[in-house]
Amino acid sequence: MPVPVLAARDVKKSYGRGAARFDALKGVSIDIEEGESISIVGKSGSGKSTLMHLLALLDKPSTGAVELSGRDAGALGGRVLNRTRNQTFGFVFQQFFLTPNTSVLDNVTLPLRIAGVSGAERRRRGMEALERLELADKAKNKATDLSGGQKQRVVIARALVNEPRVIFADEPTGNLDTATGAVVEEILFDLNRRTGITLIVVTHDEDLAAKTDRSVFIRDGLIVDRSGENA
C-alpha cells in the first residue's frame, strides 16, 4: 500500500481555554493518496477550514499528528516548513488574493519569487503556467483589470507555477457564476487527471464535491457519513 501524501492522525484542534474553549476538531483521521481528488465538505463552522489549514501545514494540531509522505510534519522546523509549503502546495482561494496594481505575470510568479528563483527562469515558468490557462496574452495586464473567471485562472496559474504535488482549493468557485465556475472546475479536475496533482477541495457545495473521487463530510469537528451520522 502506497504511503499517503498527506494524512491526519486523530487530529484535535481547540482554540481558547477554560469556559471560552472551542473545539474546532475533535479527533479526525484521514489519508489522502497521491494523485486523488478529494473534497472536504461541511457547513460554515464545521471545522473543514481548520482541517485544511492543518493539512496545509499552516497551523499545528493541539494533539495528534499530520504526516507528509509518512513523516510527522510537527517535527519540521520553521525554515523547512516554509520551504515545504512553498514547494509542495499550491493554494486556490475563493477570494483571489491577487496583488492589485501588479501585473498578472508578477502575481503568478510570487511563489517562485519567494523560493528565490532567478528572474529569467521565473518569467519562463510563469509564462508556461499562464499558457496552460490560456492567459498568456494577459501577462502584462494589471491583475485587477481581469474578469472574475480570468482572476481565478490567474490564481490557478499561481498555484501551479511551482509544480506542487498538492493543490488546496478553498471554495474555488464560490465567487464565480455557474458557467465560469464550471470552466474553473473543469480546469482543476483536468489538472488532477492529466498531471496527477493531488487535489483537495474544501467546499460546502455538494455538487462540486460529487465531482471529486471521494468526499469527506465534516460536522461539528468530526467526520460523518453522507447522511450526517457519525462515521
Partner: protein
C-alpha cells in the same frame, strides 16, 4: 526571496501608494535638507578657517605668556625686580608681569624648544610712500614664519637683514599704487616717535600684498629685521630693563613633533610658570565654537527627522494594514517572518534614502545659490568664504543617519507584518 528581489519588491511597493509616500518623503526631505544645510555651514566655515589658518601663524610655534597670578585669595604681592607690561591677551588696560631677558633663557632651556623670540609690540606713527599722504598703521602681533593669504608678492622673509613688509590690499590705493603687483618692490617709510619725543624714519620694502582674512584685516606684517628696527627706534630713551620686558614670547619647536611631545613642552613651560598656546589651540577654540553652534542647529534638524520618523511608522502601519491579505498569502506560500520583516524594513529604508538623497541634493543646490548671493552681498568683505560647503563624507553620513532612523521607524510596522498569522490574514467571512 533573493536579496535583489527583496529590494526590487520593496522599491516597487513604496510607489504603490504614491501620495502617501510622497508626503512621507517630503517630511524626511525637510529634515535632511536642514541637516545638510547646517552641516554645510559648519564645513564651509571650518574650511575657511583652515585656509586662513596660515595667516594666523605656522604650525611650529607656540605663544608663551606668564601664568596669571592666583588672585582669589587677595591681590598678589609685589616682588621687586619685576615689571608689568600691557597684556596682549587679557582685557584692554590689564597688565601682566613681564617676561624678562633672563627668563627667555629659562624658556629656551626647556627640552624641545628650538628657539625663543620675544613678541615685540611695535607701534610706528605712520606709513608713507614717496612723500605722499601719511596713514596710520598697526602691525599684526603674529609671530615669525607667518604665511599670509597673498594677493600679490611673497611673505616677508625671516632671517634676512633687509627690512620687508606686507601690506593689506586696502593700503594699495591709499598709498598711491596702481595695482597690487605695482606695490610689490616699492619702498615705504615708517615714522616712529621714541620715548624721548624724538622722531625717526625707517624704510622698508613691500614684498607682498595680503588679502583680508578672518583676523588682521587691516594689519601690516613685518619681517623680524624690520620689527627689530622699529622696536629699537621706538625704545630709544627706555632703560634696558624696560626695553627687554615682554608680555609674550614666541617659542619655536620642531614642526614634526607629535601632539604628545607638544604637550610635554607645554607641561614643562607650565612648571616654570608660563602658559603656552599653539596655533592649533587657537584655531581649535574657533572650531570648537563653530562646531558647537552647528551641533545645536543639527539638533533641530534631527528633531525634524525624528518627527519624520513617526511619519514613516504611520505610513508603513497603514501599508501593513492594507496589505494584510498579501502578507498572509506570502507567508502561506512559505515566506518566512524574517523575510517579511526585511521587506518592510527595506521599504522604510528606501523611503529614508529617497527623502535624504533629495534633501541633500536640494541643500547643495540651495547652498550654492545662497553662496552666490552672499558673496556679492553680506559676505563680500570676506573674499574666499563660501559660507556653505559640502564634503562627501558628512553628506554620506547624513544619508546613512537618515536611513538608519528610517530603519528604526520601520521596525515597528515590519515586526507587526512579520508576526502576522497567515490563517487570520486570509480569513474571510
Amino acid at each position: 526571496m533573493s536579496g535583489l528581489d527583496m529590494i526590487r519588491s520593496a522599491v516597487g511597493n513604496t510607489f504603490r501608494s504614491k501620495t502617501r509616500t510622497i508626503l512621507t518623503v517630503l517630511a524626511i526631505f525637510i529634515g535632511a535638507f536642514t541637516l545638510a544645510l547646517t552641516s554645510g555651514v559648519g564645513t564651509g566655515i571650518n574650511r575657511y578657517i583652515d585656509t586662513t589658518v596660515s595667516s594666523i601663524g605656522s604650525n611650529d610655534i607656540m605663544v608663551v605668556t606668564r601664568t596669571a597670578e592666583n588672585t582669589s585669595d587677595g591681590p598678589a604681592k609685589y616682588e621687586p625686580d619685576t615689571r608689568n607690561v600691557a597684556s596682549q591677551t587679557a582685557s584692554p588696560g590689564t597688565t601682566v608681569r613681564a617676561i624678562t631677558t633672563g627668563e627667555l633663557d629659562d624658556i629656551a632651556g626647556v627640552s624641545g624648544v628650538t628657539s625663543v623670540d620675544p613678541a615685540l609690540a611695535i607701534r610706528p606713527d605712520y606709513v608713507e610712500y614717496n612723500g605722499g599722504t601719511q596713514y596710520q598703521v598697526s602691525f599684526a602681533g603674529f609671530p615669525g614664519g607667518t604665511k599670509l593669504n597673498l594677493a600679490a608678492g611673497a611673505d616677508p622673509a625671516p632671517g634676512t637683514s633687509k627690512h620687508e613688509v606686507a601690506i593689506p590690499v586696502e593700503y594699495v590705493d591709499a598709498l598711491g599704487f596702481t595695482s597690487d603687483s605695482d606695490a610689490v618692490g616699492k619702498t615705504v617709510t615708517f615714522g616712529v616717535t621714541d620715548q624721548t619725543g624724538g622722531s625717526t624714519t625707517i624704510d622698508a620694502t613691500i614684498v607682498g600684498v595680503a588679502q583680508p582674512g578672518l583676523v588682521g584685516t587691516s594689519s601690516l606684517t613685518a619681517n623680524d629685521s624690520l620689527t627689530k628696527a622699529l622696536y629699537d627706534a621706538q625704545s630709544v630713551g627706555l632703560s634696558d630693563a624696560s626695553k627687554n620686558s615682554y608680555a609674550s614670547v614666541t617659542v619655536h619647536f620642531d614642526p614634526s613633533d607629535s601632539d604628545a611631545q607638544i604637550s610635554t613642552i607645554k607641561g614643562d613651560l607650565k612648571a616654570l610658570g608660563y602658559d603656552a598656546t599653539t596655533v592649533k589651540d587657537q584655531i581649535g577654540l574657533f572650531k570648537t565654537i563653530i562646531d558647537a553652534i552647528v551641533l545645536v542647529l543639527n539638533g533641530f534638524a534631527v528633531i525634524a527627522l525624528v518627527a519624520a520618523g513617526f511619519g514613516i511608522v504611520n505610513t508603513l502601519l497603514m501599508s501593513v494594514q492594507e496589505r494584510t491579505r498579501e502578507i498572509g498569502l506570502m507567508k502561506a506560500m512559505g515566506m518566512g517572518g524574517g523575510r517579511v520583516f526585511g521587506l518592510f524594513s527595506l521599504e522604510a529604508v528606501f523611503i529614508g534614502f529617497l527623502g535624504s538623497a533629495i534633501g541633500v541634493i536640494g541643500a547643495i543646490l540651495a547652498g550654492t545659490a545662497l553662496n552666490g548671493v552672499l558673496a556679492n552681498g553680506l559676505l563680500s568683505a570676506l573674499p574666499g568664504l563660501s559660507l556653505i560647503a559640502f564634503d562627501p563624507a558628512p553628506i554620506a553620513v547624513i544619508i546613512l543617519v537618515v536611513m538608519s532612523i528610517a530603519f528604526l521607524a520601520g521596525t515597528i510596522p515590519a515586526l507587526r507584518a512579520a508576526r502576522q498569522d497567515p490563517i487570520e490574514s486570509l480569513r474571510y467571512e
